[in-house]
Amino acid sequence: MAEKTHAASGGLIRYLVVRFLLIFPTIFILVTLVFFLMRVTGDPITASQGGRLPPDELAQRIHTAGYDQPIIVQYAQYLGQLLRGDFGTTYSDHQPITTVLTTYGTATLELAVYALVVAFIVGIPLGMLAAFIRDRWGDAVLRVLAILFYATPIFFSGLLLKLVFSIWLHVLPVAGRASTTVELKMQELSNPTGIYFIDALRTGDPAALPDVLQHAILPAVTLGLLTAGIFLRLVRTNVIGTLNTGYIDAARSRGVGEYRLVTRHAFRPALIPIITVIGLQIAMLLGGAVLTETTFEWNGLGYQLNHYLQARDFVAVQGIVALLAVIVAVVNFIVDIIAALIDPRVRY
C-alpha cells in the first residue's frame, strides 16, 4: 500500500515538473510569433516616424537602434535580452517595459480581481441554476442572458453602463480610479502599493475606500459580466453533462434530492474541466482589460498599451504584449496545477 502511494505521488511530481517546463516553449512560441509579426513588414521607427523625419535622419536612427541588421540577428539579440529579463525600452518616452509593468500592472491586477469576483458571484450560481431548471423557459432566459453577457463588446456595455449610471443617474463616477483628492492623499503615502484598495485603507481617510470602490464598480461589472457569461454557459453545459452520468442516477436511486445532486454530486466532477477553461478566461481577461481600461480611463497596462498604440510606439506595444505572454503562460500553469490537485485521479 505504502509503495503504491509513493509511486503515485511520483506521478504527480512528474506532472508538475513537465507542466512547469512547458511554460518555456509556450513563452518562446508567443514571443517569437509577436516578434516576427511586428518586424516582418518593416522596422518600428519607420512605422512611427516615417514621413515626419528627413530620410537621412531616419536612417541614422534606424542604424543606432540596430534595426538595419538582418532580422535573424535582431531576433537572436532580442531573445538574449529577454533571457536577461529585459523586455526593451519604449521608444516614445524611454521607459523600460518592466517599469511600465511595475507601475501600471497593479491597476490591471486589481481590476482583474474585481472582475473575477463579479464573474464568480454571477456566473457560477446562475450556471448551476440553469442546469437545475434545464430546458424550461427560465433556462432559456438565462442562456440568452449568458450570450448577451459574453457577446456584448466591452466597449459597448461599458459605454451603456456609463451613460445610465454616470451621465443620467449621476450615481457613479464617469472614469478614473479615484477622485483627485483621494489620489493626492494616496500619493503622499510612503511606498504606495499601487493597489488602491490597500492604499485607500492606509490613508486613514474613511471616505477614501468608498471612493475607490465606487470608481471600481462600473469597470469591474463591465469586465466581470463578460466573463460571467462564459462561466454561466460553461457551468451549465458541464453540470448538465455530469447530471447524465451513471453516478448521478445511482445517487438519485438512493434518495439524494435533485438540488443536492446538482450542487454537490454533479458540480465537483464538472468543476475539473471548468477550472481549466477558467484559467484560459483569466488570460482572456487581460485582452478585455485593454478595452475596459480604455473605456473607463483606468490607468493600467491596457490603458498604457492603448496610449502607446495611439503614439505609434510599436516598440512599447511589442514589449507589453511579450510581457503579457509571460504572465499568461504562468497563470495557465498555476491553474492547471490547481485542476490536477482537485482531480483525485491525477492526485492519487
Binding site: 500500500m1 506521478g11 512528474r14 506532472y15 513537465v18 452520468t245 451513471g246 453516478y247 442516477d249 445511482a250 445517487a251 438519485r252 436511486s253 438512493r254 434518495g255 439524494v256 434530492g257 435533485e258 443536492r260 454537490r264 454530486h265 465537483r268 466532477p269 475539473i272 482537485i342 482531480d343 483525485p344 485521479r345 492519487y348
Partner: protein, 553 residues
C-alpha cells in the same frame, strides 16, 4: 404474507424522434419476502424499464400507467410508486428499495471518497454526524468483503478493481437495509470468476439480511445460479412466469423454449469427441511472441503478451480464451498488423510480423479477414452497407467503384443470409445481429484464407448470437478458411473451435483439443474458469457452485 413489491398492469411509453414507443406493455409481477425474482429477456424486452419503474427512475420522456406498489420494510401496506410526488419518491428510494447497476465504474462518483458516497445515501434519509457516517461506511465495506475497510473508506473509486467496485455499489444499496434490492445486470461487466463472487455476495444478502431481490439479466446461467422464480419478458410483455426449476425443466412458452435452446453450453460442441489436429501447413505460427505497448507520458511500457507459442493450421479454427486484460485481443490485432510485434516471431501467411513494413504487408491483407467485437462501431456511419462491403474489393483493385462491385456485394450479402436491398441502408438502420452478418460479408469479400474474430458475438443477445455462430460455422465449412476465434466464453468457443488456447496475464497457460481443455483441464486456472461459468440448469449449477468453493479452498 404480503409482497415486497407488486406491479400491476404496468405500461411505459417513451417519446422518441420516431414517435411514441411502447416499452412495457401491461406487465404484472410480484416479489415476496426473501425471494429472488429474475426478470429475463433480450435487449429491448423492457426488463430494465420495468425494474427502474419500481424506483420511479424513468427519464422525463417516459409516461406510465398501472401501479407499482412497494412495501417498506416496516410498513405493512405499500404505496404506489407511480403516484408519489417527487419528494415522497425521494423518501422511498434507498429506504424501501435500492438499486445495483450494471457498470460499477460508471456509478461511482470519481471525485469523492467512498465513505462520502456511502454517507450520501444515509444523509438523504436523516441527519448523521461525520463520525457516524464514517463508522457506518466501514461497517458496510466490511460486510461486502472489502479488506482493510477503515483505511479503504478514504480511497477514491479508481483505486479499486472492477469486482471491488461492484461490492461497494452493493454496500451502498444495503446501507439503509431496504427490503428490496434491484440488481440490473449486476455481473455483465465483470469477468466470469469475479461474477461468481458477486453472485455469492447477492445470495448472502438474501440469506443473511432477508432482502428480496429483483435480478435483471440476459444470462440464463446467472438465473439458474441465483433465482427462485423467473419471469421471461419479450417485447414489453411477460410471456412466462415460473419457479426456476420448472422453467428450466419444462418451459411452456415458445419464446422461452427458443431462448433456452439458444444458450451455448460447454460440452455441447466439438469437445464431445476428440478432433485430431489437421495435418495441413500452418497459416499462423508464433514463437516466443512478445508484444509490448510503448511507454507513454507518466507510465512505463505495458507488456500485454509475454512470450507465447501457438500455431493455426490451414482450415482450422483455434479458440483463444481468457478474461479481460489477458492479452487475447492483442494477439488478434498483431496477426492483422494493427499492433506491432516487439519480440519473438509471428509468422502470418509466410510473412514475419516482427518488423514488417506496412507497404509490403498490404498485399497480404486481402487474404486476412477481421471481424470486430462491436458491430455498432465497425462501420463508417456515413457509408451504405453496400459501400462498406465493397471497400475491400475497391482497395484491392477488384472493382473501381462501389457500383461496379455491386454484383459481388449482393452475392456476399446473400451468403450471410441478408436481403440484398439492405445494401442501400445505412449501418444504424440495421440491428446488431444484422450488422455482424455484414461484418462477415466484408471479411469474406476477398475469399481470405485466414479470418480473425475478436469477440464477434459478445455484444449480441443470446438468440441472435446463436444464429450468428451457426452462420459462421456454415461459412467456415463452405469456404474452408482458417480462423482465430477470440472469446471470453468457453461455451461459445467450444461450439466453433476445434482447439483451444487459454490465456492469462499475457501467457498461454494451456492449449489442446476441446475435449482435453474442457474435459480434463490440466491447469488450476482453467479449472477455476470452467467452474465459474454458470450453467443454465439450477441443480447442476448448485453442484458446480460447491465444486468451485472446493477449488477455492
Amino acid at each position: 404474507m404480503s409482497d415486497v413489491v407488486k406491479i400491476e398492469d404496468l405500461v411505459v411509453r417513451f417519446a422518441t424522434d420516431e414517435g411514441s414507443v411502447l416499452a412495457v406493455d401491461g406487465v404484472s409481477l410480484a416479489v415476496g419476502e426473501r425471494e429472488v425474482l429474475a426478470i429475463v429477456g433480450e435487449s429491448g424486452s423492457g426488463k430494465t424499464v420495468t425494474a427502474r419503474a419500481i424506483l420511479g427512475l424513468l427519464p422525463e420522456t417516459a409516461t406510465t400507467r398501472g401501479a407499482v406498489v412497494l412495501r417498506g420494510r416496516d410498513s405493512s401496506d405499500g404505496v404506489d410508486v407511480l403516484s408519489l410526488s417527487p419528494g415522497q419518491l425521494r423518501q422511498v428510494r434507498g429506504r424501501d428499495a435500492a438499486m445495483v447497476f450494471q457498470e460499477p465504474s460508471a456509478v461511482l462518483n470519481p471525485v469523492y471518497p467512498i465513505w462520502w458516497q456511502i454517507a450520501e445515501g444515509l444523509r438523504a434519509h436523516g441527519r448523521l454526524s461525520r463520525a457516524d457516517a464514517r463508522a457506518r461506511a466501514v461497517e458496510m465495506l466490511e460486510l461486502v468483503g472489502i479488506p482493510d475497510p477503515t483505511h479503504r473508506i478514504d480511497h477514491f473509486p479508481h483505486e479499486f478493481s472492477g469486482g471491488q467496485k461492484q461490492r461497494i455499489v452493493i454496500a451502498m444499496a444495503l446501507a439503509l437495509n431496504p427490503g428490496l434490492i434491484i440488481a440490473d445486470e449486476p455481473t455483465t461487466a465483470l469477468d466470469v470468476t469475479v461474477q461468481a463472487e458477486i453472485l455469492d455476495l447477492l445470495r448472502r444478502l438474501r440469506d443473511d439480511f432477508g432482502s428480496a431481490i429483483v435480478l435483471i439479466t440476459h444470462n440464463m446461467g446467472v438465473v439458474a445460479d441465483l433465482a427462485d422464480r423467473v419471469a421471461v419478458m419479450y417485447q414489453g410483455r411477460v410471456v412466462e412466469q415460473a419457479p426456476v426449476r420448472q422453467l428450466f425443466a419444462v418451459p411452456q412458452d415458445a419464446y422461452t423454449q427458443r431462448l433456452l435452446a439458444a444458450v451455448p453450453r460447454v460440452g455441447a460442441g466439438h469437445s464431445q469427441r476428440d478432433t485430431p489436429e489437421p495435418a495441413t501447413a500452418n497459416v499462423v505460427e508464433a514463437k516466443r511472441l512478445v508484444i509490448q505497448y510503448p511507454a507513454r507520458f507518466g507510465s512505463g511500457g505495458f507488456t500485454a503478451v509475454r512470450g507465447v507459442d501457438f500455431h493455426i493450421h490451414a482450415g482450422e479454427v483455434l479458440g483463444l480464451v481468457g478474461e479481460s486484460g489477458s492479452g487475447k485481443t492483442t494477439i488478434g490485432r498483431a496477426i492483422a498488423g494493427l499492433t506491432p510485434v516487439t519480440g519473438g516471431s509471428l509468422d502470418v501467411l509466410g510473412f514475419e510480423m516482427n518488423g514488417v513494413r506496412e507497404r509490403r504487408f498490404r498485399a497480404v491483407r486481402g487474404d486476412i479477414g477481421f471481424v470486430f467485437q462491436d458491430p455498432g462501431t465497425s462501420f463508417n456511419p456515413l457509408l451504405t452497407i453496400a459501400e462498406c462491403v465493397a471497400e475491400p474489393l475497391i482497395v484491392h483493385g477488384r472493382a473501381r467503384t462501389a457500383r461496379d462491385a455491386r454484383a459481388r456485394v449482393d452475392e456476399l450479402l446473400d451468403a450471410v443470409q441478408l436481403p440484398t436491398v439492405y445494401g442501400e441502408r445505412f449501418p444504424h438502420e440495421l440491428s446488431g445481429g444484422q450488422r455482424q452478418r455484414v461484418s462477415f460479408a466484408r471479411a469474406l469479400a476477398l475469399s481470405p484464407s485466414l479470418v480473425v474474430l475478436d469477440e464477434p458475438t459478445s455484444a449480441l443477445d443470446v438468440s441472435v448470437q446463436a444464429r450468428v455462430l451457426e452462420l459462421f460455422g456454415e461459412l467456415q465449412r463452405q469456404f474452408g478458411f482458417a480462423a482465430l476465434f477470440i472469446s471470453h466464453d468457453l461455451a461459445v468457443v467450444d461450439q466453433l473451435a476445434t482447439r483451444i488456447a487459454v490465456m492469462r496475464n499475457g501467457e498461454i497457460i494451456e492449449t489442446g483439443p476441446n475435449s482435453q481443455v474442457l474435459g480434463s483441464p490440466q491447469h488450476a486456472y482453467t479449472r477455476r474458469l470452467l467452474a465459474s461459468l454458470p450453467v443454465p440448469d439450477p441443480d447442476a449449477q448448485a453442484e458446480r457452485r460447491d465444486a468451485l468453493r472446493a477449488l477455492g479452498d
